[in-house]
Symmetry: C2
Subunit: 490 residues, 2 copies
């Protein structure tokens, strides 16, 4: 005879099959995004629809990160969606980098426009045309602005969240009196992103500097966070750019310094986008579906009443509602899944697919024992907890799940970072990528391009962390100028 626990564990015929993560990672990704109700394909090529469950995740990301951006003295503002084509052309590298990806408005109000308008792929040029108007004196600096916005880059190959024609992001834009202050801001914001990724998204990341070839079009230097996905590929999770005076000179952003001399400002920009949702999915998800880190989860707890006879069901629902209220009072989001047309097994599968960190089951047997059954999404571990201890235990378990997700991802990443001393080693390790390779690099863009061509892997960044001493370039064998992280990347 089956025990009750066995019955609950048995998956009912579940309509939302997902591909096996271990067999077809790409299909698994698409399945958990679409069947997990995060996003859907739209009729516009490369544009997605972010569904309520996915958008609630983005709102949580926005709320937390926005708080961190404001705490560090930045103010939000909003600049136009459209940029005159001529603005983009003012910074030579910038326009070269972005022009292949532009969407261009040529007709408006029934007439052909004299000057076409580009839909912003990023807002440096339009924002800095305003900075030139606003900045006069050193007293106006630093100018610390952030914008939450949609941007458009016409990508050839798109994937939900990872690379979409339109995406949502924040872009910070600042102006300073000195190079050092701009460099400090660039690294400070990279640090904010790292803290956010690690503490809220449970994403371990490698911070470092991009190579010249991979830096932002128009920047003096770009820094990035690189996260490792479960298929061992890298996902660039945020970037922070020291723009030097490139844009300041192109847009004439000058100020009078304390000696009344006219100077160009020093600038930074930095961004994090809906792409980060792809990193959450591919870092934590498993064969059962998504796993949401509790601190950012759209829903932290689902309560599933296990219905039996009508009389008992009233008491079961009463208990569920009381627990939901108690959790809400502790700022824990909880939802009761009281659908009668679905079986408990169906519901378990569905909420596991959606990655809700904790499930509370309440059935007649639980009620008889004045208890409920708690189930963790990360480990699947169950425990019976007395009614009066539910809230305290949920609080503790959510904290433990958050910690556990980060620890597991960090251990996994550390186990998949390995030194390479030769090109043969690099190539072999990147065929079916075994993780991130660390090795020497001579610093030549030609050598970098050749390695990319032959292995499919790119230099992700030159990490701040010391991963060992590498005396020779993995690509050409010459003297190494840097230690680099190599990986295939999204």
């Amino acid at each position: 005879m089956k025990t009750k626990t066995d019955e609950r564990a048995t998956a009912e015929k579940f309509p939302r099959h997902i591909a096996a993560q271990s067999e077809d990672f790409n299909q698994w990704y698409t399945d958990v995004v679409t069947k997990g109700d995060l996003a859907d394909y739209s009729p516009i090529k490369g544009c997605m629809v972010i569904k309520p469950y996915g958008y609630a995740l983005w709102e949580n990301i926005q709320r937390v990160l926005d708080g961190m951006i404001k705490e560090t003295g930045h103010q939000n503002a909003y600049f136009p969606l459209f940029i005159p084509e001529s603005f983009l052309k003012k910074e030579k590298e910038h326009v070269e980098g972005f022009s292949p990806e532009l969407a261009v408005v040529t007709i408006a109000g029934g007439k052909e426009l004299e000057e076409p308008l580009v839909v912003r792929p990023t807002s440096e040029t339009i924002i800095y045309s305003m900075f030139a108007k606003w900045v006069h004196s050193y007293r106006d600096l630093p100018l610390l602005i952030n914008q939450w916005a949609n941007v458009v880059r016409w990508e050839k190959r798109t994937r939900l969240f990872l690379r979409t024609t339109e995406f949502l992001w924040q872009e910070g834009h600042t102006a300073h009196t000195t190079f050092d202050e701009a460099q400090g801001e660039t690294l400070k914001m990279l640090g904010i992103y790292k803290k956010f990724a690690e503490e809220f998204l449970a994403l371990p990341v490698i911070d470092g500097q991009k190579s010249e070839s991979e830096k932002f079009a128009g920047a003096y230097a770009t820094y990035s966070l690189e996260a490792m996905m479960k298929d061992n590929k890298a996902l660039q999770s945020a970037t922070s750019h020291n723009l030097g005076q490139n844009f300041a000179k192109a847009f004439g952003i000058t100020f009078l310094d304390r000696d009344n001399l006219e100077q160009h400002v020093w600038q930074t920009s930095w961004g994090l986008s809906t792409r980060i949702i792809g990193a959450i999915i591919m870092t934590h998800g498993d064969e059962r579906g998504l796993i949401m880190p509790p601190r950012i989860a759209p829903l932290q707890v689902v309560i599933v009443p296990i219905f039996s006879d009508e009389q008992k069901n009233v008491a079961i629902l009463d208990a569920a509602q009381e627990i939901a209220r108690d959790l809400a009072a502790r700022d824990i989001s909880a939802q009761i899944d009281d659908r009668t047309q679905e079986t408990p097994g169906f519901k378990f599968n569905e909420w596991e697919l959606k990655g809700v960190p904790m499930r509370i089951e309440i059935g007649a047997r639980d009620m008889a024992q004045h208890a409920v059954t708690l189930v963790r999404r990360d480990t699947g571990k169950k425990e019976s907890v007395a009614h009066n201890k539910v809230v305290a235990e949920v609080v503790a378990l959510l904290q433990d799940i958050q910690r556990n997700l980060f620890t597991a991802a960090k251990e996994r990443m550390e186990q998949h970072i390995f030194p390479v001393q030769s090109f043969a080693e690099l190539k072999e390790s990147m065929a079916e990528p075994k993780g991130f390779a660390v090795g020497g690099w001579c610093g030549s863009a030609v050598c970098e391009a050749a390695m990319k061509e032959k292995t499919g892997a790119t230099i992700r960044n030159i990490p701040f962390h010391h991963y060992g001493t590498f005396t020779h370039c993995v690509g050409c064998g010459k003297k190494a100028a840097h230690t680099a992280i190599f990986a295939k990347a999204y």
Copy 2:
């Protein structure tokens, strides 16, 4: 000899002159928007830049209204910026209404697009193409979605906040099983907007139904809130549409009802935009500048230390900081203006222009009395309050200012609503508009158009409130079918 109070009250040479509201209302409006740091002109025709102070106001609006939208069961989602031209054409009236105002992307990724993409002027068509995919059964209904987004309408004449080519808004989109349910939703959301406008923005509004000519392109019926500006013109502050089955039929949004019969859904949409900021400005502002309602103010309290000698200044700043901390603990936003290069008089003028509801002055004389001086922005009234009573008094005064702004605006509106019995009366009252005219209307669109042509005033709505009995049409003298509100409008 001047008293200290006199000295404080004396406006220093103030660089941000604004036009007199009583003499040139339009210039006054532009001045308070730009010199009050709410917004700035951008290099793109008709597009504005929302500056940090203005954006903080919009964020407060978003936070409160978003909470009210979610409390009533709606979920946020995000849909593409672009709409295929063919989608707009599916609903005949809709495309006729919007086609003159469209911005069209014809080139993307360096190539001419096969089908041009319209930048959304509103999202019914793109959202309902997704609803058609998502709705199958009555169990999927009601579908209650909201989106915060930017939209673009190519306007010929633009004005900051009131009419800009790009603007920010929320647009709610719902689908229901019956007409009655959709009608209930339409009016419920109009009610939410009214509650929000009155309780948070201190804006009295007239709710009612739009005439056929003025309804949303593609709607079955449109309802609006109309607010009265200080120049006696109307500003449509929010709209809510019962869409009937027009879009459901155009996009094939059907469901199987409880009897397993296929039915088209019944729909609503409703929106509130950055335009509402114009209503706040023109309802509350005065000759000194903006007045922000405390419940929505970007900054509720400014603390201005009145510096004297250095030793006293330390104690003054300490006291200012302590008060700021105490206010923050009560969730009241406060900022200390400790600039040393500006005089107190300059600061008073500047913060009054920006409409900060309360000012706290702390000078040496205040310190000697263990007191501070509180100044209300709405009445200019000053009072001296002991240090240990500051927080309680500020809380009480902010509530009183909120109440007072609403009461003053409501009284003003009521005094400027007057009955008209003849066309001559209507015309005369609208030449230099004396307010809102209430009168009979036969219901004919031809008569409505003739009145508009001859008076410059439009039917704002057919109000829910009973303003009296009007038996004959103001326009043609025939039997009145409705009582209408006539006004010149933004």
